[in-house]
């Protein structure tokens, strides 16, 4: 993240990610960049995987037009790679929802778009919306980080915050929709580990209007952050504390006032609490946050250099992108590292 919103092209993070190829299996990689669509900054940028554009696109077009205006749409430019089979066609829409169609909502545009994402994805009619925020774009596919970057020519995009991920699927098969980052509206998430509380978290989030369609655990993290931060209005550090709360022994040792609100938070959001090993980085247009599980079963390294904040699984990736990095730290388990861009 560049806290002054100075943009970087995608070549730097491509190189950083390729430092950690030992952590992947070539079955999925992806990038997300904030600030990539300045010409359509007021539109929701919907990135869609079509199984077959001719067969599946009309339904999506009709659904979107029912709820607003498609300002522009086009195939996302891609470039053939020898070892990457293009099983889906990535497409992008720049969409303006009609707020008068959700008069009871306090955030009609966000609610319309998130409902459309859920509707299109659960219909399973050859279309999957995997990116739906304003001035943000997820670029992912099945393959190694360099192949996916070259497939989209990621160096052609300029963003002030970038997340990237190299996947090693362990519990479900790798596929394009299962590659990270996961995005809903403004928030995007990348994750190393496995959410063993996925079943509990999924039941909770699906009872609140979300539907999991990506066959992998990290999807629930994106929806939990959307629920806690956007819909419930929790501060980001409180949201992280709800997802990865202190142990009960630690809460019991806190001074009374602190103990009470920590207890309340943990009880209120018990089904949102995430168990298992994880290191997670999430971002929206103004923020980036990294945190690990409370037992620190996955690594997380933080680097800083002037206005730039870096969060990575390995120090080498940060140094590949920023050889003159000024500070390198390893934050404590469960302790969020939050970067905010200047207003």
């Amino acid at each position: 993240m560049d806290r002054k919103r100075r943009t970087m092209d995608g070549s730097g993070i491509r190189q950083a990610l390729s430092m950690m190829n030992e952590r992947g299996s070539g079955e999925g990689a992806g990038y997300v960049a904030y600030g990539v669509y300045p010409d359509y900054r007021d539109c929701y940028a919907l990135h869609v995987f079509f199984d077959n554009v001719r067969e599946n696109k009309d339904v999506v077009d009709a659904t979107l037009e029912q709820w607003g205006t498609i300002e522009h749409d086009e195939a996302i430019p891609t470039y053939d790679q020898p070892n990457l089979r293009a099983v889906h066609t990535p497409w992008r829409y720049f969409f303006k929802p009609d707020p008068s169609l959700a008069p009871a909502s306090t955030s009609p545009e966000d609610d319309i778009v998130s409902a459309l994402v859920m509707r299109v994805n659960t219909a399973r009619r050859g279309a999957l919306i995997f990116s739906s925020g304003k001035n943000v774009g997820v670029f992912k596919a099945g393959g190694w980080p360099e192949e996916v970057a070259d497939f989209y020519r990621i160096e052609d995009y300029e963003g002030y915050t970038w997340l990237a991920h190299n996947r090693y699927p362990t519990n479900t098969p790798g596929w394009w929709g299962g590659a990270h980052p996961f995005n809903l509206l403004g928030w995007s998430v990348v994750h190393n580990g496995e959410i063993t509380s996925y079943g509990t978290n999924r039941r909770y989030i699906e009872s609140l209007g979300y539907t999991c369609t990506m066959y992998t655990d990290t999807e629930v993290v994106a929806y939990l952050i959307d629920l806690l931060v956007r819909r419930h209005g929790l501060d980001l550090d409180l949201a992280v504390r709800a997802l990865a709360p202190p142990f009960w022994e630690e809460i019991d040792r806190m001074p009374e006032a602190e103990r009470e609100w920590n207890r309340a938070l943990r009880l209120t959001y018990a089904p949102a609490m995430m168990n298992g090993p994880f290191a997670i980085v999430a971002a929206d247009a103004d923020t980036m946050v990294g945190f690990t599980d409370r037992s620190k079963l996955r690594p997380m390294v933080v680097g800083e250099c002037a206005d730039r904040l870096y969060i990575s699984s390995e120090e080498a990736a940060i140094r590949a992108m920023e050889p003159k990095v000024e500070s390198i730290t390893m934050p404590a388990a469960g302790e969020p590292v939050i970067g905010r861009v200047a207003p």
């Binding site: 430092m19 630690e250 040792r253 037992s295 620190k296 390294v301 390995e314 120090e315 390198i328």
Partner: protein, 245 residues
């Protein structure tokens, strides 16, 4: 005359890098200096002999895994698990190191000048004359000495006191010695504090001196300091935990 070999590690994958190291050792090198290391895992894995390897940069995880004999000196930070299942030899790290330092180490020494992450010394073990030693100059995080089965884990706390949770979680052998006081709340079930005896102090003094010598520190304030010694609460602290006899 000592034979020195220089290797430029810039952009070299760990497999050809280790092949160059092994060739240099086979050709009789006494010292190998490797520059521009960045993130290469598994450096020196399974390596034997008496060679000294100077690494400039930040090596990747599992440095010196299964190594038996050589000395590796890291002029920079290290990632996860340096000294993983190391058999003999020595790893000296002039910066910080990541999680699971000296993972399952069964002999030799790992010295870290700075801080280490979580689970330092996890499942170190000793057998007859195989006696692993991990010394940390700075501080350590939670689950220090997790499942410790043998050896010595010494934390000098030069960057501040050790306040990690769950120290000695699952400890059933070996000892964790930490400079200064350790709060009882930091100890895991099955770990207990005992006084450091004069014999203990005599035993750790040479280790402290060697550490101080490697990093140019004054050993005297350290050898005479107050230490907390943490050992298993009994010969079998977890009997009855999973099965009943």
């Amino acid at each position: 005359m000592a034979k020195q070999v220089a290797i430029d590690g810039k952009g070299v994958h760990y497999t050809p890098l280790n092949q160059q190291i092994r060739k240099a050792v086979a050709d009789g090198a006494d010292e190998i200096v490797i520059s521009n290391i960045l993130g290469q895992r598994f450096i020196g894995d399974g390596l034997r002999g008496n060679v000294t390897i100077q690494l400039y940069g930040v090596p990747g995880g599992d440095l010196a895994m299964f190594m038996s004999g050589p000395t590796i000196i890291v002029h920079g930070n290290a990632e996860h698990a340096p000294g993983n299942t190391m058999d003999a030899g020595k790893v000296v790290i002039h910066g910080n190191a990541g999680d699971a330092v000296a993972h399952s180490m069964r002999g030799g020494k790992v010295f870290v000048r700075g801080d280490i992450g979580y689970r330092g010394g996890i499942h170190m073990k000793q057998y007859e004359d195989h006696y692993p030693i991990l010394v940390v100059g700075g501080t350590a995080q939670a689950y220090l000495g997790e499942s410790l089965a043998g050896g010595l884990l010494l934390v000098l706390g030069l960057n501040g006191p050790v306040q990690a949770r769950e120290i000695g979680s699952g400890i059933h052998g070996g000892e964790i010695i930490i400079r200064g006081d350790v709060d009882d709340a930091c100890l895991a079930t099955g770990a207990t504090k005992v006084p450091l005896t004069e014999e203990d102090r005599m035993r750790i003094a040479p280790v402290i001196r060697e550490f101080a010598d490697d990093f140019g520190l004054d050993p005297e304030p350290l050898t005479g300091a107050k230490y907390t010694r943490i050992v298993p609460a009994s010969a079998r602290p977890f009997v009855g935990k999973y099965t009943w006899e």
